[in-house]
């Protein structure tokens, strides 16, 4: 363990003597004396890690006498005035270093006073503010009282629907969905719409899983050669069934059973030594405190915090719940000799039950986090939900629940209502979305730095990377695919289901090594460059425009697909029927070193009607073959083309000949079988020209059914605006949009799509 200390925090304040213990003295002692004089087995019983340690001293007596370096043993030892000189058998301290120690001792050995942010004055338990209104009206009543005036009239139906669809499904409402909603004349139709969107468990889960992936650091398939485990399946299930939030948290903190989300407690680990502040129990403590309780333990996982009231022992107390046994405490990666036992951040909740075994520890943590008396759990969560829906929390930063809320009553009422409804997350969402407050027009202007925040309505919120990609997909019909490893059909994917791309990383999909509770909404130049000329979006738009104009025919299906193959030979006897041409393709899947993979088709033969065989390697290469003859299309000799680097493609003209079967033994060349290449490739045979981007065509419906786009440019523009922005174009806009389409070419539509998707109105939830 340890040896890569990264105490990220050092105090910014200097002491009266202009010398800082934590910044100047402690690191010096740590570096020069720490290897012997620290921890449970400190030499001569002397630890030099804290002021108290030094005053207490070891077998030779106190190490320091505060106020007198002359009488301090520490100085006598490091100067050699008293033998043996320290550090023992090592280079003596430099004069400047001794001077620092002297000055510090002479100044009375001061220890920097932390300037802790004040602990919240809010009681831990929830209060239930009294409001003279029915439960449906309380939020609005509190906001009206706060504003001192009536809440602004709600936004129009379509804008409301766009908000709601993006907030609940992460998808744009289609023009048909908008029409239906606008035509609806029933009372409470907005609440009804929210209810019906919430009722679609799959779509709801497919959106909110991104929120949780960010918070819980869950990322599919990202490993660092150390332990890490996906909790996607559990998370998806929990969201689909709307697992009550208290049970949700309990399952994460105390995973039981094979399907349990133990990946959360396992954390993100790299092979090798890690700082004591990043071992798995400490990661679990930091992350659970931050995400569920709005407590930042990052500083005090290493030392007492200088910016909050949290102490090193608080972090270890919590971490000990997630360890197998009591933990020895390390201060800045140096053992202190003190042992931490499980103790909750809010000691008033600590129980009296025995907490010894690992299972008991986790169970107790789960109980403490979620007990009714712990109002911090629901407050933290409702604040995060509020922040997600309004762009800013009732408390900011949302990771520091000790900070004041702009409306304490609102916070506590909402949290109480949430708990009172059995921690039902969908209830909470519906409660907020039914208010006039949620339906207020967006308040666009930024607050000036330094000025206190005043709530004036929801802030415009940037589409998340996944929302953006899915919105583009729903309009263009271009979705990424999940390709099975065995031969079979592909499935359309929502963006969250696959690894990030250059596009989604540019749009803010985080690397989930750390908890992400807020994605920065600020547009950046790098991201604008990615949108302007990145290959990912360019391909989506160009295919999308063709698709919308009906120019894309369904991709042909292979007559042979080996599935993912590695070392074994793939024997194929593929029946041919009326084939005029053949394409033999080899694609890399995810070889360790794809550039060194050599693969090919051995003994490839065509069998004729009468059983006669034609060896592919005997064919004649011909860039432009004549009709009717069997030819290898291309310039290379068949023997070279049949075995080579991957990916590769061979085209064969069968002419008029009538073959019944293609035989081959496909595989990886011996020299590519080394473990540092680790080939994983896939062989395909097609009889129609394959679509290289859709070798395995998708089956089934895409996440949003593809629209049929009007041929008439003006109608197309109308539909496009309606889908992308939930409104009709103004006459002026229609004019410009039609300019894009004037030449009647696909690229005009491609460019119009780009312009719309790059517009602020598209990229923000207004």
């Amino acid at each position: 363990m340890l040896l890569s200390p990264a105490c990220l925090l050092l105090p910014l304040v200097a002491t009266a003597a202009d010398l800082d213990f934590a910044r100047q003295v402690h690191p010096l002692l740590l570096a020069r004396c720490g290897s012997c004089h620290s921890g449970a087995f400190a030499q001569a019983g002397l630890r030099l890690t804290t002021r108290a340690d030094m005053l207490a001293g070891g077998v030779s007596g106190p190490a320091i006498v505060a106020g007198s370096s002359e009488r301090s043993l520490l100085i006598a030892r490091v100067t050699g005035a008293r033998q043996p000189r320290m550090p023992f058998n090592a280079e003596p301290l430099a004069d400047a270093e001794v001077a620092i120690l002297r000055r510090w001792i002479d100044a009375g050995a001061p220890v920097t006073e932390a300037r802790p942010a004040r602990r919240s004055t809010r009681p831990l338990a929830l209060r239930a503010p009294k409001v003279n209104a029915g439960p449906d009206r309380v939020l609005d009543a509190l906001v009206t009282r706060y504003l001192g005036s009536a809440i602004a009239p709600p936004v129009a139906d379509a804008l409301f629907a766009r908000r709601l669809y993006l907030d609940l499904w992460g998808l744009l409402p289609t023009p048909e969905q908008l029409d239906e909603f606008e035509r609806d004349r029933r009372p409470h139709k907005r609440t009804r719409l929210a209810g019906s969107l919430l009722a679609d468990a799959d779509k709801y889960a497919s959106h909110w899983i991104t929120f949780w992936n960010d918070h819980l650091r869950n990322d599919e398939g990202v490993v660092y050669h150390g332990e890490r485990k996906s909790i996607t399946q559990w998370l998806l299930g929990a969201l689909r069934e709307n697992l009550p939030y208290d049970r949700f948290v309990r399952a994460l903190l105390n995973p039981e059973g094979p399907a349990a989300p133990d990946g959360f407690l396992i954390g993100v680990n790299w092979r090798g030594d890690v700082s004591a502040s990043q071992i798995p129990p400490m990661q679990a403590a930091q992350n659970s405190a931050q995400v569920f309780l709005g407590v930042n333990l990052k500083c005090n996982a290493c030392h007492d915090s200088f910016i909050s009231h949290w102490k090193l022992k608080d972090a270890y107390g919590l971490a000990s719940f997630f360890a197998d046994k009591d933990m020895e405490m390390y201060r800045c990666d140096v053992a202190t000799g003190e042992i931490a036992t499980p103790s909750f951040l809010f000691p008033e909740l600590n129980g009296s039950s025995v907490v010894a075994t690992p299972a008991e520890r986790r169970a107790e943590a789960a109980r403490l986090f979620t007990m009714r008396e712990n109002g911090r759990l629901p407050r933290t969560f409702v604040n995060r939900v509020w922040k997600t829906l309004f762009g800013r929390g009732l408390i900011e930063p949302a990771d520091d629940l000790d900070a004041p809320a702009w409306n304490e009553d609102l916070l506590d009422w909402l949290a109480s209502d949430f708990v009172g409804h059995a921690y039902d997350v969908k209830h909470l969402l519906l409660r907020i979305m039914s208010t006039r407050t949620y339906q207020m027009p967006a308040a666009g202007e930024p607050f000036k730095p330094g000025e206190p925040f005043r709530f004036r309505g929801p802030l415009p919120r940037r589409l998340g990377a996944e929302q953006f990609a899915d919105a583009v997909g729903s309009i263009t019909g271009e979705w990424r695919l999940i390709v099975p490893r065995q031969s079979g059909e592909a499935r359309h994917a929502r963006e969250w289901q696959l690894k990030s791309t250059a596009l989604t990383r540019a749009l803010g999909r985080p690397i989930r090594d750390q908890v992400t509770t807020e994605r920065l909404a600020q547009p950046t130049t790098l991201e604008a460059i990615e949108l302007a000329n990145g290959q990912t979006l360019a391909e989506i738009l160009s295919r999308g425009a063709r698709r919308m104009r009906g120019e894309i025919t369904p991709a042909p299906v292979a007559i042979f697909d080996s599935g993912v193959a590695s070392a074994a030979k793939v024997i194929g006897d593929v029946p041919l029927r009326d084939a005029r041409r053949l394409w033999l393709l080899i694609e890399d899947v995810d070889s360790y070193d794809p550039r060194r993979v050599v693969a090919g088709w051995a003994n490839a033969m065509l069998e004729g009607q009468g059983g006669e065989m034609v060896r592919l390697r005997d064919l004649v290469p011909e860039p432009r073959p004549e009709r009717g003859a069997i030819h290898f299309r291309g310039d290379r000799k068949p023997a070279e083309a049949l075995l080579g680097a991957v990916p590769s493609a061979i085209e064969i003209d069968l002419g008029a000949a009538d073959f019944t079967c293609l035989h081959f033994a496909a595989g990886v060349d011996q020299q590519s079988l080394a473990s540092d290449i680790n080939p994983r490739i896939r062989f395909f045979v097609f009889t129609e020209e394959p679509d290289r981007r859709r070798l395995i065509p998708p089956a089934g419906e895409p996440p949003v059914r593809a629209a049929s786009w009007p041929k008439d440019p003006s109608s197309l523009v109308s539909r496009l605006y309606r889908h992308a922005l939930a409104r009709d174009p103004s006459p002026l806009e229609r004019g410009v949009a039609l300019e894009f389409l004037a030449a009647g070419r696909t690229e005009g539509l491609d460019d119009l799509l780009w312009a719309l998707f790059s517009s602020p109105e598209f990229q923000y939830i207004q």
Binding site: L12, P397, F447, D590, A737, P760
Partner: protein, 482 residues
């Protein structure tokens, strides 16, 4: 941080803020939670010696004894004892009497009189050799896992100094493909600006020959169409009823980002990315392969006004400098790849009068040895296929193990001493550091110092300071500066 202090700091930063604003970030970014700098308590202003930093990254662990720290040479013969071999190349003279380097680096030897050579870089002791984790540590100064996302060195520089020219991204990364198979994710984990925010992240140019495409319209789109698309886009935005009401602040931030992107993509500076514009003779003098051409691109971008450029031989497990076997032959090939372009880069920058204000740093995540994995006193699990005691084949001949005790770093230009040797390693195995060790925080502090950034500069994240060198403790090696 007290608000008053913050205000003063920001007032002091107004010029830089202006530059950043002009480059795409906006003052609104500060409000949006972008990290603010916390200047060091005892920091005095450092006069920058260099405006640009070029990091030449020897990815995969460059064997110091086969490059810049040659030891006794033993020629290959069958039956040779492994432990008898310290270097598989003879040493050659350089322009500097006191410095000898390894055969195969003749061109670099000829410019050694412009360089400072550090032979005593000690890599992080991370308990296990994982190239990408050591590279993460080298590039950020911190070893993962971490509780906050650490920024890449280039991002720190981009954030602290901003771009030199608004049309050239402040942080350019040339030659590294991030999709390299098994270690892709660890690479991505540090090729970021971390908590500093994506604005300061790397502008990635995986292939120098395709660099022009990264500042051109997407494939298949003419310049004319690209310009026309943007012009109509502006018209469409102006025609939008949202221009009259709705959120001005967000709209403007986004439009400014688009404006910056399009200015960059159509600016004359974008020509710097296009290697086809380089005269043939010059192109050929760099063209030893991808790395060589990346050096050429770095030169062009330095001329155009780049701030930080990393040029890599590219990390791919078991390739390039990651010599697990056949080390001699592969080191020879790598030296052929780097020798001419590195020297040419130095000469070209010098000829253009840019070398004095450009610091070139050539470095690697650790060194190599034939026998020792890790450090002599702290061995780690051997990850290299068996090195036999007695060599029977040429492929056994070379530095195959990961040696973290000592490695070489070359510094050129940017105000460093010329023809200067810093630090010494033992001449007998284990070739330990025996004089003036250099740790990553000190190396970072040295690079930052050259650029005028104090080593204890910190950025505020979650209300706490994050120092640009580990805990603010890096100390510049002032000895290397002229």
């Amino acid at each position: 941080m007290p608000r008053k202090l913050a205000k003063e700091l920001l007032a002091g930063l107004s010029r830089r803020d202006f530059m950043r604003a002009s480059a795409g970030a906006t003052l609104a970014a500060l409000e949006a939670g972008a990290p603010r700098p916390v200047w060091p308590a005892a920091g005095s202003k450092i006069e920058p010696r260099a405006d640009t930093l070029i990091l030449l990254w020897m990815a995969g662990g460059m064997a110091q004894t086969e490059t810049f720290d040659p030891k006794e040479y033993t020629a290959f013969e069958t039956g040779l004892e492994s432990k008898a071999v310290l270097s598989t190349f003879p040493a050659i003279d350089t322009k500097v009497d006191s410095i000898r380097i390894s055969q195969g680096l003749e061109r670099i030897a000829s410019v050694m009189d412009r360089a400072t050579l550090i032979r005593t870089y000690q890599a992080g002791d991370l308990g296990f050799i994982l190239h990408s984790r050591h590279q993460y540590h080298w590039h950020t100064g911190y070893a993962p896992p971490l509780s906050v996302a650490a920024p890449h060195l280039g991002a720190v520089i981009a954030r602290s100094l901003g771009p030199r020219k608004p049309d050239v991204p402040a942080f350019l990364d040339i030659g590294q493909n991030l999709e390299i198979g098994a270690e892709s994710d660890p690479l991505k984990a540090f090729h970021t600006a971390g908590f500093l925010g994506a604005e300061h992240g790397p502008f990635l140019v995986p292939d120098p020959l395709e660099a022009a495409a990264s500042v051109r319209p997407p494939a298949g789109m003419s310049q004319e169409r690209f310009r026309g698309r943007y012009e109509r886009y502006r018209k469409l935005i102006e025609a939008s009823p949202m221009m009259k009401h709705g959120s001005g602040f967000h709209r403007e931030s986004l439009l400014r980002a688009q404006e910056n992107a399009h200015r960059l993509l159509s600016s004359p500076a974008a020509k710097a990315f296009d290697l086809s514009l380089e005269p043939k003779e010059s192109f050929d003098s760099y063209n030893t392969g991808r790395f060589g051409l990346s050096c050429l691109l770095a030169r062009r971008l330095t001329e155009a006004g780049a701030r930080f450029i990393e040029v890599t031989t590219e990390y791919i497990p078991f390739r390039h400098w990651d010599t697990h076997e056949n080390g001699h032959t592969r080191a020879l090939a790598m030296k052929r790849e780097i020798d001419a372009p590195v020297a040419q880069l130095v000469l070209d920058l010098e000829e253009r009068g840019l070398l004095d204000r450009t610091l070139i740093v050539l470095a690697s995540e650790f060194g190599r040895d034939m026998m020792v994995e890790g450090r002599p006193d702290k061995r780690v699990r051997d990850q290299v296929s068996q090195q036999p005691e007695v060599m029977t084949e040429m492929k056994h001949y070379g530095m195959h193990r990961h040696f973290t005790e000592a490695g070489s770093v070359l510094l050129i230009g940017g105000g460093v001493k010329k023809g200067f040797l810093y630090g010494r390693t033992a001449d007998e195995r284990p070739c330990k550091v025996i004089d003036r060790p250099v740790r990553i925080e000190d190396l970072h502090a040295t690079m930052y110092h050259a650029l005028g950034i104090p080593p204890d500069l910190a950025y505020e994240v979650e209300k706490r300071p994050f120092h640009v060198t580990r805990d603010g403790k890096g100390r510049p090696i002032t000895d290397v500066f002229a």
